[in-house]
């Protein structure tokens, strides 16, 4: 056990699974980063933000594959390889690029098993960065997990910390279904204690980072940290909050969400994805349908406005949920 960053935790998960299982291969734009360059350094980048650094050196070019910038072909190749005996981990770099390869995910990988009458396994992981807060503007900042969550056949993981990232990524790699694994790019340097050994965290079980009596705050990915901060501040005002991290948006731990709402009677949902048809809507519908009687107050959502993610720093700050907004919306008074 030692302190590891979100980036290190993900790198370690990949490394340990590649050591354990020779069918695990990585592919993506610049996952090695440097093939064909004039310096001759083939792993110059190790991923655009250094997450896959060092893996080429250990596992070689047959298992760490730089791709041309052509998402449709290599995401499709990852799907085809998964259906034929490999366990590919394909990196889509920014999840916004899914526009270039949605067919391969939505119509191919996600549907093989059902269309083929249960006779296919597609153990595919697609890693991608998501989230605003990096001045990366409208085409590099979206939080598109609701898009994937909408598609039957996909599992969608949004880890909230380094410990969570490692265990959930190893689980994703060992899982026999296609998994979308979304990493908030602002969190790569976040640190916490992470076991050195390989471990898994099962999908579909929420994690309660705080337990309280007055309000349930459901938060996703990076929002969990902000919700914890808001809950700590509210505790000083005598308001005790449960903070629930669903970990996976599909499968979704509906039972724990409902139990927490039954216990507290109040629900706040923090979701940094665009507000129409996002997880906040989905979870609101769940609770309205199945725990309406337990609610002491209307459900509140802390979500960005229905705009593209703006570039300029003050605008982006206005756009994003934060601890202040969560605190304000979570205070019952």
């Amino acid at each position: 056990m030692s302190k590891k960053s979100f980036r290190q935790a993900i790198n370690e998960a990949l490394r340990q699974e590649m050591r354990r299982d020779p069918t695990v291969v990585l592919m993506g734009e610049d996952v090695a980063g440097g093939q064909g360059g004039s310096s001759g350094v083939k792993d110059a980048w190790g991923g655009v933000l250094g997450v896959t650094k060092g893996l080429l050196t250990e596992f070689g070019e047959s298992r760490v594959l730089d791709t041309p910038i052509s998402e449709a072909s290599y995401i499709g190749a990852a799907a085809g390889a998964a259906a034929t005996g490999l366990r590919p981990v394909a990196e889509l770099m920014f999840v916004d690029f899914v526009g270039c390869c949605l067919d391969q995910i939505m119509n191919q990988a996600a549907k093989f098993r059902y269309m083929f009458g249960g006779k296919a396994r597609t153990p595919l992981v697609i890693r991608a960065m998501y989230g605003a807060g990096f001045n990366a503007a409208a085409q590099h900042s979206q939080a598109l997990y609701p898009l994937f969550t909408h598609i039957p056949g996909l599992k969608v993981v949004v880890p909230s910390s380094p410990y969570e990232a490692k265990g959930l990524l190893i689980e994703a790699i060992r899982d026999d279904d296609p998994v979308i694994f979304l990493e908030n790019k602002v969190m790569y340097d976040d640190e916490e204690e992470v076991p050195d050994e390989a471990y898994t965290i099962p999908f579909g079980e929420a994690n309660l980072t705080r337990e309280g009596n007055d309000v349930t705050i459901v938060a996703i990915g990076r929002m969990v940290g902000m919700a914890n901060e808001a809950a700590d501040r509210l505790a000083k005002q005598g308001i005790s909050c449960t903070v629930l991290d669903p970990r996976t948006t599909f499968p979704l731990d509906e039972q724990t969400i409902l139990e927490c709402v039954e216990d507290t009677g109040r629900l706040v949902i923090v979701d940094e994805s665009s507000p129409r048809c996002n997880m906040a809507c989905d979870i609101s519908a769940l609770v309205a349908e199945q725990a309406f009687g337990a609610l002491k107050a209307p459900i509140r959502r802390v979500v960005p406005p229905h705009t593209p993610v703006p570039f300029s720093t003050p605008l982006e700050k206005l756009y994003m949920p934060n601890a202040d907004k969560i605190e304000l919306r979570s205070n019952p008074s």
């Binding site: 499709g76 190749a77 259906a83 119509n107 059902y114 083929f116 279904d177």
Partner: protein
Amino acid sequence: MQISQETLLRSYRAMRTIRVFEERLHREFATGEIPGFVHLYCGEEASAVGVCANLTEQDTIASTHRGHGHCIAKGVDVGGMMAEIYGRKSGVCRGKGGSMHIADLSKGMLGANGIVGGGPPLICGAALSHKVLKDNGVAVAFYGDGASNEGTTLESLNLATVWQLPAVFVVEDNGYGEATGASYACAGNQKDRAAGFGMPYMECNGSDFFAVHDAARDAIDHARSGKGPVMLHVHLERWYGHFEGDSMSYRASNEVADAKKNRDCLESFRKRVEQDKLLELSALDEIDAAVADEVESAVQAAKQAPWPEEADLLADVYVKI
């Protein structure tokens, strides 16, 4: 190189099966008993069979929405296919895929595909599996002249070359993407497209089994030997519409009749084996009779097979939730 008698008999049977299967579907579809879309492969049989005659069961193919021929050529069970097309629980995909999604991974058949250009990227992946797992396998993408204009296909030609994959890209050029002619929709030509990626290119007459077989053998041998991907351009004609119910008003009135009369791959096969004394025609007649029986039983069995049940609706979305 001489093709063995066994291969010839098997290939003739596969072509005849495709022909009878598709013509029967044409008639049955008209009765209204077959749900959904059906795209027939009649006229193109020599392409699927000529290519697949050079593949083993562990080699992988990906097909198109016009996929019945590729399935039969790769050895997918005919009865199971028919039941699938009828939407029955006994179908190869338990009635959940239908005509456009017939697949059988145990036969190396990675699926027909409802998305034009869906197959080539998948085949890059299958070829990567063969390469990484070092099983000496080859992966073959069948796609049409229409799909040759999809970005996915062009990206795949590039990726397969960059990664030096054991892949063969078979362009089944029947001259039409749906109702639009290739002469309108395909800029330049397939040969120059292959050349643009530095990829070897071969072409052949798709109504001649022997021509397809030999070209495919060279292409597949090249890919299998680790020299990288190949494009095989097969010129052929489809005898029915894009889908069943298509009146084909975009085609000249004698186009199909001329193809049937002059470029029927089964007729040319019979002539060739008779002329070169490769097989007895009586053996082919026996196959014709056996295939007629097989397809007839497949249709009867499919019509009587049970429908999927309510529990099947929720099954097999995931391996495990």
